[in-house]
């Protein structure tokens, strides 16, 4: 079984937007793989990201730090990270760390895509 499964796809609603679908455990071990995926998209100059947390069973500060670490670069290039698939377990952690103020969270991919268009 994979510890973390990362699916990177173009959004069906807007091919300029990249969707990362995460499944499994995001911790200090598996975050390296995720950061690798992030780097590939940055190198391809793709900076509008939607991260789907719906399949994540576990996240630690290593995973959360990877979102914080890449945000400034995305925003400097006109992009952003929006989150979908929020679970109560992860929302509790987001609130504790003050992430709700920094990141936008949407109920669906369609809503997140619309928010990018309006941006």
């Amino acid at each position: 079984m994979d510890l973390l499964n990362i699916e990177v796809v173009d959004s069906a609603q807007n091919a300029e937007i990249v969707v990362f679908r995460l499944k499994g455990h995001l911790d200090a071990q598996t975050v390296r793989e995720l950061e690798g995926s992030f780097t590939l998209q940055l190198q391809a100059a793709r900076v509008r990201w939607i991260v789907d947390l719906g399949g994540l069973d576990y996240i630690s500060s290593a995973g959360l730090g990877s979102f914080i670490g890449v945000l400034a670069e995305l925003q400097a290039k006109g992009g952003n990270i929006f989150f979908i698939g929020m679970t109560p377990k992860i929302e509790k952690i987001f609130k504790m760390l003050g992430f709700m103020r920094i990141f936008k969270i949407f109920a669906s991919e369609a809503e997140a895509v619309r928010a990018f268009k309006g941006a």
């Binding site: 911790d27 200090a28 914080i68 670490g69 400034a72 760390l97 920094i102």
Partner: protein, 299 residues
């Protein structure tokens, strides 16, 4: 023939080694010293020093009981025996418990006398098995001594705590396995799901810090984790023998500065502080010891 008045202890040796079982015969005798063959009751054993296992023996058959008994020492102990139930028979014998064998070097393995589950032991102490509930004492020679049916009063408080410890190489590839183990132990002991989630993350953060900062990803080094579970909550001690470092003195996270500096780290301490009721750091015997405490009753 009159009822039993004395219980006569006849051990295979009067100087057993601490923690090692020896044969004991007990005879029920009447006032004249004749065996009371009608005696079929049970009797309690109580040492004047150290511990005895089992603490209750019987039933006697035709006035005789024979079986294995363990004493802990070192030194002299009067082993008192008294009949339970109707009779008033009693007796005692002086033992000289020896402790002249070399002690085991911690950490060592010791098996639960109830179910055989092997644990890695850091120090001699009273343990409650998280699998079968057996309460037992592990001595410094790695003997596991059952404290059934009832441990001495002064040990009951300590035994209300269940302890589990593990050690593993400093490797982030083992984080998932360590979390799985921790969650399984907490689940088996009936703590609430949200409390388990909080402890899972906080312990992960503490272990990750050790692997990354104390040991610099050197998987030849060892991380030690000890769990103490009781009815008021859970304590997780994460220990390393890296250079003295107090992780609680880390900077307060300012998210905006973090983002501007494109920093990834530093959130772990903030999470541990938010998720736990108490964090405490100590430098102990060359170890950094970070203790995470979370209050909450098991079901």
């Amino acid at each position: 023939m009159s009822a039993a008045e004395q219980l006569v202890l006849a051990p295979e040796t009067e100087s057993p080694h601490s923690g090692e079982a020896f044969e004991l015969e007990v005879l029920a005798a009447d006032g004249a010293g004749d065996v009371d063959e009608s005696f079929g009751g049970e009797a309690a054993l109580q040492p004047s020093a150290g511990m005895v296992s089992p603490a209750k023996i019987g039933p006697f058959k035709a006035g005789l009981w024979r079986g294995k008994v363990t004493l802990t020492g070192p030194g002299a102990t009067h082993l008192r025996i008294s009949s339970l139930g109707g009779g008033k028979a009693s007796g005692d014998l002086l033992f000289k418990v020896r402790d002249d064998k070399p002690a085991a070097k911690p950490p060592f393995n010791a098996a639960c006398p109830g179910c055989g589950l092997t644990l890695e032991i850091q120090a001699p102490d009273v343990y409650r098995c998280h699998r079968c509930g057996e309460i037992y004492f592990v001595d410094r020679w790695a003997h596991s001594i059952s404290l059934k049916p009832r441990p001495p009063e002064e040990l009951l408080d300590a035994a209300a705590t269940s302890r589990v410890s593990l050690s593993f190489p400093a490797d982030v590839n083992l984080l998932r396995a360590v979390r799985t183990f921790l969650v399984a132990v907490l689940n088996e002991n009936g703590y609430q799901q949200e409390m388990i989630n909080d402890l899972e993350i906080a312990a992960d953060e503490a272990v990750t810090n050790v692997v990354e900062h104390a040991y610099g990803y050197d998987n030849g080094k060892t991380v030690f984790v000890e769990l103490r579970l009781d009815k008021s909550g859970v304590q997780v001690k994460v220990k390393d023998h890296g250079p003295a470092f107090d992780p609680l003195q880390g900077e307060v996270v300012n998210l905006d500065q973090h983002i501007a500096a494109r920093r990834r780290g530093g959130l772990g301490l903030h999470l541990m502080q938010s998720l736990m009721d108490r964090l405490e750091y100590r430098r102990e015997d060359g170890f950094n010891v970070l203790t995470l405490t979370k209050h909450g009753e098991p079901r």
